[in-house]
């Protein structure tokens, strides 16, 4: 099978894009273990598939009384490693994140992906067509001889 640079570029691009959530997640992983209390139900009809662990403020109103206890009570926070300061509360750093840029980035990312894919596809098609034309001409010339 021939090595195609566009395929390589596509594969590498896809792999590098995959690294984004993993790299951004890394600093939060230890914190997430404590924050992500599973099994908290979202309220029925008003919910829309959202994550089941909402922000600190609304969770007190939204979660039923018998819902899972806060993770901080269920499990003691791990000792912070030497040289780092402990976070004062779960979600303290993220509670005030403005959602608008996140939504805009998500929507733009989808269109950017479609656009990049179309450009790659168009380039691949152009290159293949050029090669076909050139090869067909050479074959025709050879057949003529």
């Amino acid at each position: 099978m021939k090595l195609r640079p566009v395929s390589l570029a596509t594969s590498l691009g896809a792999l590098s894009l995959l690294c984004v959530p993993l790299l951004t997640a890394t600093p939060f992983l230890a914190f997430a273990d404590d924050y992500g209390a599973p099994g908290v139900a979202t309220p029925g009809e008003a919910s829309a598939g959202g994550p089941t662990v909402p922000d600190a403020e609304p969770v007190a109103e939204a979660a039923p009384a018998e819902a899972a206890p806060p993770a901080a009570e269920a499990k003691a926070p791990p000792e912070p490693p030497p040289g780092f300061e402990a976070v004062t509360g779960p979600g303290a750093a993220q509670a005030d994140v403005d959602p608008i840029p996140l939504v805009i980035v998500a929507y733009l990312f989808i269109w950017a992906m479609v656009l990049v894919y179309l450009v790659l596809l168009w380039r691949r098609q152009s290159r293949v067509n050029e090669e076909i034309q050139s090869l067909a001409q050479r074959l025709e010339r050879a057949a003529g001889e």
């Binding site: 997430a32 008003a46 057949a143």
Partner: protein, 255 residues
């Protein structure tokens, strides 16, 4: 130096005239279907954005960030659809060794990987606000990541594995499709951090459901158009391979 003549046993040689070099032009019906799919995708997705931002109510708990839902979920469904078609075509390829089935499988898996990346990037953006962290090692998230890695492995095998890559990749596609039920039902079985299947269970406001379905059909038409374009590139690449074979048989010197 002559181009070898075709016999009854060999497949018909493609015409080698320069005018027909890029292969036959697509039929008018195919062109109408393609541009129809593009137009439908643009209209439905524009309408879907309007519905999701201006008609569907803001979600009570998560607020505005929940709007990501209207593209995140359809992208996931399209990824599943692409992998299903790709795996079906792979099974067909393994059974019949049909080049068309292989091209369909390759195109679908490539598009499945594309939509999978959309899912894996938009999800953490949503989770960053809703959970306070972009990623947790929840079963659904982890299994979705695993499926994406399988799809990327398929593409890498197709690009670099040499002879036999097609059968090996077909096996990977089948392995990938087996993960879909696991991903889909993981929220029921393990009750992780990811929200449950609210759409199937009916726990969705009517306006939210309308916006979601409009976006889904927009994505479906977009997928159809991209698939048609990708198949066209695949056909051209197959024709190029045939011409390379002819050139080798004719002992054509490199330019």
């Amino acid at each position: 130096m002559t181009v070898p003549e075709q016999t009854a046993d060999t497949p018909a040689a493609p015409p080698v005239t320069p005018s027909a070099g890029a292969g036959p032009a697509p039929s008018p019906v195919k062109q109408i279907l393609f541009f129809g799919a593009v137009a439908a995708a643009m209209l439905l997705l524009t309408y879907g954005v309007y519905l999701s931002f201006f008609v569907a109510p803001t979600e009570m708990v998560m607020g505005f960030v929940q709007k990501i839902f209207y593209f995140h979920v359809p992208a996931a469904w399209i990824m599943f659809l692409a992998v299903f078609i790709g795996a079906g075509a792979s099974i067909s390829f393994l059974a019949t060794k049909s080049d068309r089935a292989d091209r369909l499988a390759h195109s679908c898996i490539e598009l499945g990987a594309l939509f999978g990346i959309m899912v894996l990037v938009t999800g953490p953006l949503w989770g960053y606000k809703a959970w306070g962290t972009p990623w947790v090692w929840d079963v659904r998230l982890t299994s979705s990541l695993l499926l994406e890695l399988v799809l990327l492995a398929y593409l890498l095998v197709r690009a670099f594995a040499g002879p036999g890559a097609r059968s090996l990749a077909a096996g990977l596609a089948i392995f990938g499709v087996v993960q879909i039920p696991l991903i889909y039902y993981s929220v029921d079985i393990w009750r992780g951090t990811h929200p449950p299947r609210l759409v199937a269970e009916g726990g969705l406001h009517a306006d939210m459901r309308t916006a979601l379905y409009v976006c889904f059909f927009g994505f479906a038409f977009l997928f159809s158009a991209l698939l048609a374009a990708r198949l066209s590139v695949g056909r051209a690449a197959a024709r190029l391979d045939e011409l390379h074979l002819l050139a080798e048989e004719a002992d054509l010197p490199e330019p």
